[in-house]
């Protein structure tokens, strides 16, 4: 029991960091689901792309000798902006090539196409990195600034990396909230999510709004990718699958199409996973350990869907027309 209390702050911190990452990725799923009603299966690859852009920018800066000269915050800003922009455009391109030709058809067709796009991007990234760097397992170069820790209490040491994740994610989520609720473009996105036909009659350019949604979702995924890379250091083209699945779980947990729901769901899933990872072995005397955290996450998804089919905060998708 004492041990359980002692590690509690650390577990909470881990859960919050993980939760913010899931929330950022989940937003990409949920926003796209809101406007198009389909699972953008390739979103996990957009997330990985963000991580790879991040590591590439850092490696390029390193080889040019700027990594030691520039202020760490400028470096971080550069990395984050680069990966958000590239991931955003990649998501837009994906929509244009693989999804738009299929609009209006059965949803299964678009989902299969998304799965195809996901596979294509995984191996495409692998091919590119193999040709370019001779390996597709890349390590983030360490930044001294990020390796520091801030001791907060006797049993809680906060690494700067975690602070970075929390601060960036909070700022982005606040920005997204303002964007979606207070700007004209945000209103357009909400209008298309509610009813694309009526929105189009009101003069909303539906296709452009969908592209914009993909851009925003992709940029958030790219940001999550960079933060993931910085936090866990190692990336490869196939790392996206599990976080992507979890993030989708988070989006469903909160109620798909529902933007605050994705944030809540992500945070819940992150905390749940951190608790499972740390307390499962304590609770079962070591019989079941941290390796069951994925099982717990998916079981929770299945249970939630059985008992609350529309997620915790309810879906926000249009009523399907009969």
């Amino acid at each position: 029991m004492e041990l359980a209390l002692e590690i509690l702050p650390q577990v909470l911190l881990d859960g919050i960091v993980l939760g913010f990452m899931y929330a950022l990725i989940a937003l990409g799923y949920t926003m796209v689901y809101g406007v198009l009603e389909f699972i953008n299966f390739a979103h996990s690859e957009i997330f990985v792309l963000g991580a790879f852009v991040g590591v590439e920018v850092l490696l390029l800066l390193q080889s040019a000798g700027y990594l030691a000269i520039l202020h760490p915050l400028i470096i971080l800003l550069l990395v984050i902006v680069a990966s958000m922009v590239i991931s955003g455009f990649a998501a837009m391109a994906l929509e244009r090539v693989a999804y738009r030709p299929l609009l209006g058809g059965p949803r299964l067709v678009a989902l299969i196409s998304a799965i195809g796009a996901s596979f294509f991007l995984q191996d495409g990234l692998r091919l590119f990195e193999s040709l370019w760097r001779n390996t597709f397992y890349l390590n983030y170069p360490s930044l001294e600034f990020l390796d520091q820790t801030v001791p907060l209490a006797a049993n809680l040491v906060i690494p700067v990396k975690s602070i970075l994740v929390i601060v960036t994610a909070l700022m982005t989520l606040a920005g997204l909230y303002v964007f979606v609720n207070r700007t004209k473009l945000g209103m357009a996105i909400r209008a298309v999510a509610q009813d694309p036909d009526t929105a189009s009659l009101m003069g909303v350019p539906v296709n452009q709004v969908i592209a914009l949604t993909f851009f925003v979702g992709g940029a958030l995924g790219g940001l999550a990718g960079v933060l993931f890379g910085i936090h866990y250091s190692l990336v490869n083209p196939y790392t996206g699958f599990i976080p992507g699945m979890k993030a989708f779980t988070a989006a469903v947990l909160g109620g798909i199409g529902n933007i605050p729901g994705a944030m809540v769901g992500g945070m819940m899933l992150g905390l749940l996973e951190a608790f499972a990872a740390s307390y499962l072995s304590l609770m079962t005397d070591g019989a079941f350990g941290a390796e069951y955290k994925d099982v717990v996450a998916f079981l929770v998804l299945i249970l939630i869907l059985i008992f609350r089919t529309k997620g915790l905060l309810g879906e926000k998708v249009r009523e399907s027309k009969a």
Binding site: F38, I39, V97, A98, P101, L102, G105, P106, R107, L108, V109, A110, L111, I112, S113, I115, G116, A117, S118, F119, F120, L121, Q122, D123, G124, R126, L127, S130, L131, N134, F241, M245, F248, T249, V252, A287, F288, E291, Y292, D294, V295, F298, L299, L301, I302, L305, I306, T309, A322
Partner: protein, 415 residues
């Protein structure tokens, strides 16, 4: 007259391609043309009896003979058989009932492990008495048992999740498959059920009950030669049974109910189709096919570990069903065959060919751009390693240009 000509032509084609494959056992193209003869058989306008006879001739006589010349052919044929059976099972769930199942491989995994655990010394780890491995004769008992267990697991998963809408169902089935894989991967403690990531081996093979018969006829075949043939015929029988069952189901009351649910669930319910029960039945039937193949797979591989049951496998089978044509039996067969050949033969063949080019160091002269030595071709560029990329591209292109698949079901084709 016309059909007789076509039949003659086909016979000639089969004879020539088999002869070529017999005398050039290393040629991938020769074997591909033998495989293509079955596809031609499907298209040719010949009487049904002739078609069945020729098909049986190729599958029962010619392929095994070729397979004893080059063992790899039999291996490919067995793999194709396994995937055809899986694709036919998934075809029922996705194609007939219209439920997207992204975790189909879970059923396959459960029963592969069932035989693996009891057909190897693995079970001794948790059942005392040193009873295991069970004698090979139990294989057939487990084959039958797996059908029941598969149907039960299918129904058990289906029961809670079938109320969910399409996309949610897809994700839940995916989650289920990941849970199964994680369990298989981690249940080496506290009790060593599955031996974890190290996998289980050696798994017993099915009994050679007919060996005395062969001896009686004076045929002395070594076990190493006999087993591939044995597995080939086992999988052939299994696939034929599955095709027969699926065909009977498709045109029955149940099959029509499934299709009604696929087209419009509400209308089907209004017409008195017991929607939930029919969906459950679809789940159970599909799962039982996969389970039976799982047992066979475990016995054939001798060694299995969780790596064989990844998400990639589920998607691979789904791609086979979709590429071939959802809801169509010939489509599922063609899709499974095509994708397996692509993976096992075409991509590998291309890799070998590129390697050959690289080693030959030939110069490639492109006008205006100068010459380029092929030995500089990057070594990372190996098609066999990028099957997902090829796969992904095929999936996207198919969805854009021919979403109904190569061989869509006939009734839809007429419309």
């Amino acid at each position: 007259m016309n059909s007789k000509l076509a039949t003659l032509g086909l016979c000639a084609y089969i004879a020539v391609s088999c002869l070529v494959a017999f005398f050039f056992p290393q040629s991938v193209l020769a074997f591909l043309s033998v495989e293509a003869s079955l596809l031609l058989l499907y298209y040719v306008a010949a009487p049904r009896r002739v078609k069945i006879f020729l098909g049986a001739l190729v599958l029962v006589v010619l392929l095994p003979v070729l397979g004893s010349v080059n063992g790899y052919y039999l291996e490919v044929a067995i793999q194709i058989g396994i995937y055809v059976a899986l694709a036919l099972g998934l075809n029922i769930v996705v194609g007939f009932v219209g439920l997207l199942n992204l975790g189909f491989v879970a059923f396959y995994a459960i029963d592969a492990y069932l035989w693996a655990i009891f057909g190897s010394p693995q079970a001794n780890a948790f059942i005392p008495g040193g009873l295991f491995p069970l004698s090979p004769n139990w294989f057939f008992v487990f084959l039958l048992l797996s059908i029941v267990i598969g149907a039960l697991t299918g129904a058990l998963l289906g029961l809670p999740v079938l109320r969910l809408r399409g996309d949610y169902l897809a994700i839940v089935t995916l989650g289920f498959a990941e849970v199964v894989r994680a369990l298989v991967n981690n249940l080496d403690k506290p009790v060593n059920l599955t031996n974890g990531p190290r996998g289980i081996s050696p798994i017993s093979k099915p009994p050679l009950f007919f060996q005395p018969l062969l001896e009686f006829f004076g045929l002395h075949v070594t076990e190493a030669k006999l087993y591939p043939l044995y597995f080939y015929f086992l999988i052939l029988v299994l696939v034929c049974t599955i095709i027969l069952v699926t065909r009977r189901l498709e045109n029955s009351r149940i099959g029509r109910a499934w299709k009604a649910i696929r087209e419009d669930e509400i209308a089907a319910a209004a017409m008195g189709v017991p929607v939930v029960r029919m969906k459950l039945l679809g789940f159970a039937v599909g799962a039982s096919f996969a389970s039976a193949v799982g047992v066979l797979f475990a016995a054939k591989q001798v060694f299995i570990n969780p790596e064989s049951f990844t998400f990639m496998e589920s998607i691979g089978v789904l791609a086979m069903v979709i590429l071939g044509g959802m809801g169509s039996i010939p489509g599922a067969i063609l899709g499974a065959t095509g994708v397996t050949i692509l993976n096992l033969q075409l991509l590998k063949g291309m890799s070998l060919w590129l390697n050959g080019l690289r080693q030959s160091g030939a110069e490639l002269t492109i006008p205006l751009l100068g010459s380029y030595s092929l030995s500089q071709l990057p070594a990372q560029f190996e098609p066999a390693k990028y099957e997902r990329m090829v796969f992904g591209l095929i999936l996207i292109l198919m969805m854009i240009f021919r979403p109904q698949g190569v061989l869509p079901p006939t009734r839809e084709r007429k419309q």
